[in-house]
Amino acid sequence: MKYMILIYNDPALEPAYGTPAFDAMMAGFFAANQTMAADGVLVSGEGLQGVETATSLRIRGGKAETMDGPFATTKEHLGGYYVVDVADLDAALKYAALLPAAEFGTIEVRPLMNYNPAGN
């Protein structure tokens, strides 16, 4: 099964760039990437730039409305994601727990929609 691992965190709680805590976080992400790749479960994964770079769009009455900022104004923002292909939820949660962001943010794990139930 494929799962998306969504990383939500509050930038204010994130270790600051240039501190040893920041280096430890990056090393943690790197180690997690290595493990996922070595286990052959990593489908994709990206980090996102800060929420201040976000632009939202919706089409209402055929007219595109573009807005500065993220869709939801919450403290914790989507900061990045992984897609892993593993046997079950327990396996997906195990990889999610490897991510350093779990210690200061929240990781959400959701199965991807399966458009091909035959699995071939």
């Binding site: 799962y3 079950d88 939820l89 327990d90 199965p111 139930p117 035959a118 699995g119 071939n120």
Partner: protein, 419 residues
């Protein structure tokens, strides 16, 4: 045998099998079908057709094997009528192989351990874990579970359907947890069983008791866990705790009023149940793998001991428990034990910081009222009793608290008459 007595025999056998072996049959079906909803539905259909078939052709040699076979055949029919694709075809082949087995009950692989870990998975809400465990392993109906929680049956039905749908869609495994997760996941299962017991324990002892007693259901589940995976100190600890607590059930209420432990008629305690609990606790402690349920059982054992209750020892056990479960409720129990051991004023001081977190918790106000009354602070005690009575979950508890409150009020009245 007349047709009528035959029909009665069939109904009785079917009821007994569906009560005693439902968990096992459901687990066996889920193991093969990987689908909670489908497993439950086809087992129900098999039970319905058993009534007709057994009535006509007599009881099969293995009613359990018959039900499993017919349920699997139903599942195959359903899958066939759905979309045909590669995976379904493979499923069918596996199912057909299973179907060919003329399975005797003891030959049906026991998959209940895997099933309970799925039902108690941390990805489900705690209340859902309790409900799903009662439904699939205990075999309670949705209406019975709703009744136990004083919930609306429709809402409970929706909760159970959502849970089954999430298990399927989110890929919650039907598996024994990995060794590195074992201890934590077992604890999660034991907590569910403990919650089931507590739900039964705190239920209102009305004139019409529930058809299925949740305390006994929890003991059944703890025994099942102990049998399926013997040698787990915490499972033994939980079972010991449940037995030691349940041994007092006949003495807990008198004329609709709760009777506190110290005033219970010990002749009403179930001595064999206490003996079994103590033996289990000894066995658990010898494994040198301490855990919260063993400590709670040890506290229960001290309460069950004859003679004067060893409150200093109980307070020490709460100290250990607090290191494992630093919760306000454990702090409350520890303070009460200290008060009973003689440290009344320090205990009252320990209660103060808990007031905010336990404001909605009846036992907090009841315990505080009791300690305040003993310390001679009657006005404060009466206020605390009023808060406790307002929060009482059962009429029996409210009656008991009312009697205590009146006793404290009398103290004050007497106090006023003395200059």
């Amino acid at each position: 045998m007349t047709a009528a007595s035959q029909a009665i025999a069939v109904t009785r056998t079917l009821e007994a099998v569906m009560r005693n072996d439902r968990g096992r049959l459901t687990a066996a079906l889920i193991a093969r079908l990987r689908d909670f909803q489908l497993a439950e539905e086809v087992l129900q259909e098999a039970a319905v057709s058993a009534l007709t078939h057994w009535g006509r052709s007599g009881l099969p040699s293995s009613p359990q094997g018959w039900l499993l076979r017919v349920a699997l055949r139903r599942a195959i029919d359903r899958l066939r009528s759905g979309q045909r694709d590669a995976r379904r075809a493979a499923d069918l082949a596996v199912l057909a192989a299973d179907e060919a087995d003329d399975t005797e009950p003891h030959m049906i692989a026991d998959d209940r351990l895997r099933l309970i870990f799925t039902c108690c998975h941390p990805a489900l809400e705690p209340k859902t874990r309790v409900a799903l465990t009662l439904r699939t392993l205990g075999g309670l109906t949705t209406v019975e579970i709703a009744g136990a929680f004083l919930d609306d049956p429709t809402a409970m039905g929706q909760r159970l359907s959502r849970a089954k749908a999430k298990i399927a869609a989110a890929g919650i495994p039907f598996a024994i947890p990995a060794p590195e997760d074992w201890a934590e996941r077992l604890q999660s299962v034991l907590v569910v069983v403990y919650l089931i017991f507590n739900q039964g324990y705190s239920a209102n002892p009305g004139p019409q008791p529930l058809r299925r007693d949740l305390c006994e259901e929890a003991i059944f589940l703890a025994r099942m866990l102990d049998a399926l995976r013997p040698g787990e100190a915490e499972t033994e600890g939980l079972l010991a705790l449940l037995l030691l607590t349940h041994s007092r059930h006949a003495a807990r209420h008198m004329a609709g009023v709760s009777v506190p432990l110290a005033q219970q008629d010990r002749a009403l305690w179930d001595a064999p149940m206490i003996a079994e609990g103590l033996a289990l606790l000894d066995r658990a402690m010898e494994r040198r793998a301490p855990g919260p349920f063993q400590i709670k059982a040890a506290i229960g054992a001290l309460h069950a001991a004859p003679g004067v209750t060893d409150w200093p020892q109980i307070a020490l056990l709460y100290d250990s428990l607090l290191r494992m479960e630093p919760t306000p409720v454990i702090r409350l129990h520890r303070a009460v034990a200290l008060a009973e051991a003689g440290a009344l004023e320090p205990a009252l001081l320990l209660l103060e910081p808990l007031a905010r977190e336990l404001d909605d918790y009846q036992p907090f106000h009841a315990a505080r009222a009791d300690l305040l009354a003993r310390a001679g602070r009657i006005a404060a005690a009466l206020t605390a009793y009023d808060q406790a009575i307002a929060l009482a979950g059962s009429a029996a508890d409210a009656s008991f608290l009312g009697i205590r409150r009146d006793a404290a009020a009398t103290l004050r009245a007497n106090d006023k008459t003395t200059p």
